[in-house]
């Protein structure tokens, strides 16, 4: 038998494991968009059924949903704002925490490792409750009373788990840079700070982008959790609209409509993530 790349046989024992990467078994990328259309069809169908069920003389389902759309859009804008802010805060804090995890000082390393694991392992909703109930409603910054609105407290609550996840991303990315890079930079008399800022981190950015985008998508679909703690975002407003209409046949189309909004926002992000992953993949 001819010797192959796997030793004494041509047959690989196992192939590489690539979750998320597109393999031969999956349908062509273009089909994804068709599923957005399918979801829209489900929504249209449920609206149609609701139409048939509703009493004569009432405004039609589609008209009712359109009537509430501006309000929903307002709520959805708050969702997006919360997701942007939480991502920004979480990324900034997480990068620092991640760098602390590779610190040369053992106490800093252990402390930041513990903090990362703690926030990574606690449920998002519990952290959200924690921040909602235990942060003050106003803070005193140098004599000025700054009110802390509900949605901002929720943003902080969501930023905490994001921070922990970014911290792990940064640590993983730094560890994935070949050690030769450190040694080469050392040989060129770069200081540790210079090596990190000028050599290691710039290489990490590229590796971190796809999982970071993934994290953003996860964060975005977590923002409706804020409705549980009383922030007036899209989920809360949908509930309010349904309560105001008090028409049971509206339940399915309204919730399907909200799901569609989130799908339309998140699906392109997940497509872009897959595309980036493919482009950055080491052949």
């Amino acid at each position: 038998m001819r010797a192959g790349p796997y030793g004494t046989t041509d047959l690989p024992v196992l192939l590489p494991f690539r979750p998320g990467a597109r393999g031969a078994a999956e349908p062509a990328p273009g089909l994804g968009a068709a599923w957005g259309v399918a979801l829209a069809l489900v929504f249209a169908l449920s609206a149609g059924i609701a139409e048939a069920q509703s009493d004569a003389g009432r405004p039609s389902t589609v008209a009712t949903i359109l009537k509430w759309t501006p309000l929903l859009a307002q709520g959805f804008a708050l969702n997006i704002l919360i997701s942007f802010l939480a991502m920004a805060i979480g990324t900034a804090a997480g990068t620092v925490l991640g760098l602390c995890q590779i610190s040369l000082l053992p106490p800093v390393r252990t402390g930041s490792w513990f903090m990362t694991q703690f926030f990574r392992n606690s449920p998002w909703l519990v952290l959200l409750f924690y921040c909602m109930l235990l942060l003050p409603f106003e803070v005193n910054v140098g004599g000025h009373i700054v009110p802390l609105p509900d949605w901002f407290k929720a943003t902080v609550g969501l930023a905490l788990p994001v921070m922990a996840n970014v911290s792990e991303l940064v640590r993983g990315a730094i560890r994935s840079i070949p050690f030769g890079q450190w040694e080469a930079a050392d040989a060129l008399a770069f200081s540790r700070r210079q090596i990190l800022w000028m050599i290691i981190l710039p290489q990490c950015v590229k590796r971190m982008t796809p999982p970071w985008m993934n994290l953003y998508a996860i964060l975005t679909v977590a923002t409706p959790l804020c409705s549980i703690v009383g922030v007036n975002e899209a989920m809360t407003l949908t509930g309010d609209a349904l309560a105001a209409e008090a028409r049971n046949e509206l339940l399915v189309p309204m919730y399907a409509y909200l799901l569609l909004w989130f799908f339309l926002y998140c699906y392109p992000i997940s497509r872009a993530t897959v595309a980036l992953e493919k482009r950055f993949a080491v052949k």
Partner: protein, 249 residues
């Protein structure tokens, strides 16, 4: 074992420091908090098992020869991955649950599916969507030749899947699977929103009755972190026990 001295110590703690942990010295609060804890554990166990089942079945269907089946699975995955789990839960519980209920003669509406069951269904489908992808990647890592060898030995597609493909693929996908299952355990808290009496829900009732928000919040956080810690630890052990020798992904 009589734990009364321990409970009394917590009562003393309240008197001495104002740290009000009623879940220890008040028998009623202790009982309901413990029930909530058990409900949480039951919910998490049920979701873990059924999401893995969903993942295994989904991955098998994804390799089907029929295009409509493959498309349906793909649609399911994309839908559940790209929409918020909380909205899915509301959709299932309020929207679909409304149709799956009937009116009694007294005018009471009786649900056919309990809120606990809806939480299990919805969360399993949510985590299952990720599991399908993970198992698919694991299956792709098994060389075609292995399946061909199984077919040559007269295995049907289902049998080759169960006896040859899955045991190999499962070992390969275990690290990614663990990640997702840990996430699932954390996500079970959202069943609070449909009033499943799990720990967060019960804790909310207790802090509303006793006005001890900071204490209950800290207790909750510690218990959840340790629960998840236990799951992480067990999974890690399992991962190492099932590791394919010499395989580095």
């Amino acid at each position: 074992m009589d734990l009364t001295p321990l409970w009394e110590w917590f009562r003393w703690l309240y008197g001495a420091t104002g740290v009000k942990l009623t879940i220890f010295y008040d028998a009623f609060d202790r009982q309901r908090f413990f029930d909530g804890f058990l409900t949480s554990v039951r919910l998490q166990a049920a979701c873990l098992v059924s999401s893995v089942v969903v993942g295994v079945v989904g991955a098998w269907l994804q390799g089907s020869r029929l295009k409509p089946v493959r498309l349906a699975v793909q649609g399911y995955i994309q839908f559940f991955r790209n929409t918020p789990p909380l909205v899915q839960l509301y959709f299932f519980y309020f929207a679909l649950g409304y149709y799956l209920s009937y009116m009694t003669d007294e005018g009471l509406r009786v649900a056919l599916v309990s809120n606990f069951a809806w939480a299990v269904i919805c969360l399993s489908l949510y985590a299952g969507a990720f599991n399908v992808e993970i198992f698919r990647a694991g299956i792709e890592a098994v060389p075609k030749e292995t399946i061909e060898a199984a077919e040559a030995l007269g295995y049907s597609r289902l049998r080759a899947y169960v006896y040859i493909l899955l045991p190999l693929a499962f070992r390969i996908s275990l690290p990614a699977l663990n990640n997702n299952l840990v996430n699932l355990v954390k996500t079970t808290t959202i069943s609070y929103a449909i009033a499943v009496p799990e720990m967060l829900y019960v804790a909310n009732q207790i802090w509303s009755d006793e006005v001890n928000v900071p204490e209950m919040m800290n207790v909750l956080l510690v218990i959840y972190v340790s629960l998840v810690g236990v799951v992480v630890w067990i999974m890690h052990k399992w991962e190492r026990a099932l590791r394919v020798p010499g395989y580095v992904s």
